[in-house]
């Protein structure tokens, strides 16, 4: 079990963070580090692509919430790309659909950042 993290620069001062694998209490620190490093560098507009994430728990949600909180302090935003029904269900039942922008494709998530 592992998580793969890939960071890509996108147009308009935006970065995309591709996550692949499982985000839990063991792997979430790696995700937290990647997002934190971007924010430390002054990147406040992020698209986090969860399309290849098979599993996420509360520690993973906590990392995403923490990242959103930090970028919002700088007027930034975090949009998520999520098509896995089971992952979407977790965002639904925790009410996090109301604080994250959740999109079916990277393209729409990027456009919504603007």
């Amino acid at each position: 079990m592992d998580i793969k993290v890939n960071v890509r620069e996108a147009p308009a001062d935006c970065y995309v963070v591709d996550l692949s694998g499982e985000i839990d209490v063991y792997t979430s620190p790696k995700v937290k580090d990647a997002i934190g490093t971007l924010i430390d560098r002054g990147v406040y507009h992020l698209v986090i692509n969860l399309e290849k994430v098979r599993y996420i728990d509360s520690t993973g949600l906590g990392v995403l919430i923490g990242g959103l909180k930090r970028v919002r302090e700088h007027g930034g935003s975090v949009n998520l790309v999520c098509t896995n029904p089971q992952i979407k269900k977790i965002f639904d039942i925790t009410g996090l659909v109301k604080i994250f922008g959740i999109f079916e494709s990277e393209d729409t998530a990027m456009k919504a950042l603007a």
Partner: protein
């Protein structure tokens, strides 16, 4: 389709893992395997995986957890009964204040909320000497 193995009696799977993050995946895999034996839907199996992982994570994040987490998954009828035992002394008075900050506490609360939402029955048994048991039941056909 007839199951490959007929279940005529309750089946019990027990697992003991170190109370460390790298072992949580094994606990949820074990629970998922037993849920699969009950022919739970994929959604129900995912619910069980998440609830078991949240329970183990809650143990690991507790300041006074024990060295091991004991997991018992019992398939009985159309129900899966899961017990997560932590031998840590949760009931004992804290020698020092918890180090969890506000945000960490909120996330921990999210984990408990998920367990209560995804499982049909949830109860605790806290014994200062023996540790804490979290008991959870999931029935087939009950995914929220």
């Amino acid at each position: 389709m007839k199951p490959a193995v007929e279940r005529t009696a309750p089946e019990l799977v027990e697992l003991r893992i170190p109370s460390r993050p790298e072992w949580v995946a094994l606990a949820r895999l074990a629970a998922a395997t037993v849920a699969n034996r009950l022919h739970f839907s994929i959604e129900e199996i995912e619910d069980v995986k998440l609830a078991v992982a949240e329970a183990c994570t809650a143990v690991i994040q507790h300041e006074r957890h024990g060295e091991f987490i004991e997991l018992a998954c019992e398939a009985r009828g159309d129900s899966l009964r899961v017990r997560v035992h932590d031998g840590g002394r949760h009931g004992a008075p804290a020698a020092e204040p918890a180090r969890m900050n506000f945000d960490e506490a909120r996330i921990a609360g999210l984990g408990i909320f998920l367990i209560r939402t995804l499982m049909d029955e949830v109860s605790y048994d806290v014994n200062p000497q023996l540790g804490t048991d979290l008991l959870m039941v999931k029935r087939a056909g009950s995914a929220p």
